[in-house]
């Protein structure tokens, strides 16, 4: 952009959007599915029965896919450009977390499950730092 254009350009962007955000975004959904994966991996290690293991892998595949879906919705619909200023590595956090979810699909080692949970915790911190708890979670949850 030429110097003149840069000087003339607006310093803020206003939105006239007509989308329907649901207003409720919570990393908890991703975490619950990730906890499921972690437990499945533990149970897999503790049980040598073939059928059990086959089913465990099937369920882990499904749940890890849900982790990726919930992370995707959070990334696209909750987080806004102004949040990236507050959490500059936001996109990396999501990249790491979704890669960890893919790793969980391919692995039966609970250590990989733990890495996914840790990655989601980082996203939870970013969500809280940008007001997610106050703005989107509905009050009155049982403890």
């Amino acid at each position: 952009m030429s110097r003149l254009t840069r000087w003339l350009a607006p310093n803020a962007t206003a939105h006239a959007h007509c989308d329907l955000p649901c207003g409720v975004y919570d990393p908890e959904q991703a975490r619950i599915e990730a906890e499921s994966c972690f437990r499945i991996m533990e149970k897999y290690q503790a049980n040598t029965d073939e059928t059990f293991r086959a089913r465990a892998i099937g369920i882990k595949e499904e749940r890890a896919e849900l982790v990726k879906h919930h992370l995707d919705v959070l990334w696209h619909d909750y987080f806004k450009p102004e949040h990236v200023e507050k959490v500059p590595n936001l996109h990396e956090l999501f990249w790491s977390a979704t890669k960890a979810a893919s790793r969980v699909k391919a692995s039966v080692d609970p250590a990989d499950g733990q890495k996914l949970l840790d990655a989601i915790n980082d996203i939870d911190a970013a969500w809280k730092a940008t007001g997610g708890l106050e703005k989107t979670r509905v009050a009155g949850r049982p403890g």
């Binding site: 206003a14 006239a16 959007h17 007509c18 989308d19 649901c22 207003g23 703005k135």
Partner: protein, 132 residues
């Protein structure tokens, strides 16, 4: 807000206004439930009554009812959800007002004043959606 405001328009916004401008004006403001910087039209101002639930809502002396120019039918036809405006987040208090968008200075083919309008196409009944 098309066709009055198109994506990419560069606007001059008067930030000096101390109260909600008249009905039909285009304003820039922070949304109440997310603080996104948004642009809509003033459909009703302080003291006005807007249809709400089974009755009416009377706007306080510092509140305005801000609506998109689009109707719900138009946005659905375009593949979006219903317009995000006061029908979704209610009246907007004066402290969230940033300014009145009064002139478009780019693109060159669209240079000109932004006209106030008495009423937009979807405003007939000012029906609210309720919270989604």
């Amino acid at each position: 807000m098309r066709p009055a405001i198109e994506p990419g328009d560069w606007l001059l916004v008067d930030p000096t206004i101390q109260r909600w401008p008249r009905r039909g004006s285009v304003v820039v403001f922070r949304e109440p439930d997310g603080e996104t910087l948004a642009i809509k039209r003033v459909a009703a101002g302080p003291g006005d009554r807007v249809p709400f639930a089974d009755g009416h809502l009377e706007l306080a002396e510092d509140e305005a009812w801000l609506l998109s120019d689009a109707t719900a039918e138009a946005t659905t036809a375009a593949g979006h959800g219903p317009p995000v405006d006061s029908r979704r987040y209610g009246p907007v208090p004066l402290e969230l007002l940033v300014g009145r968008a009064w002139f478009r200075y780019a693109p060159i083919g669209r240079i000109g004043r932004i006209r106030a309008r008495d009423v937009g196409p979807g405003w007939d009944a000012l029906e609210p959606f309720g919270r989604g």
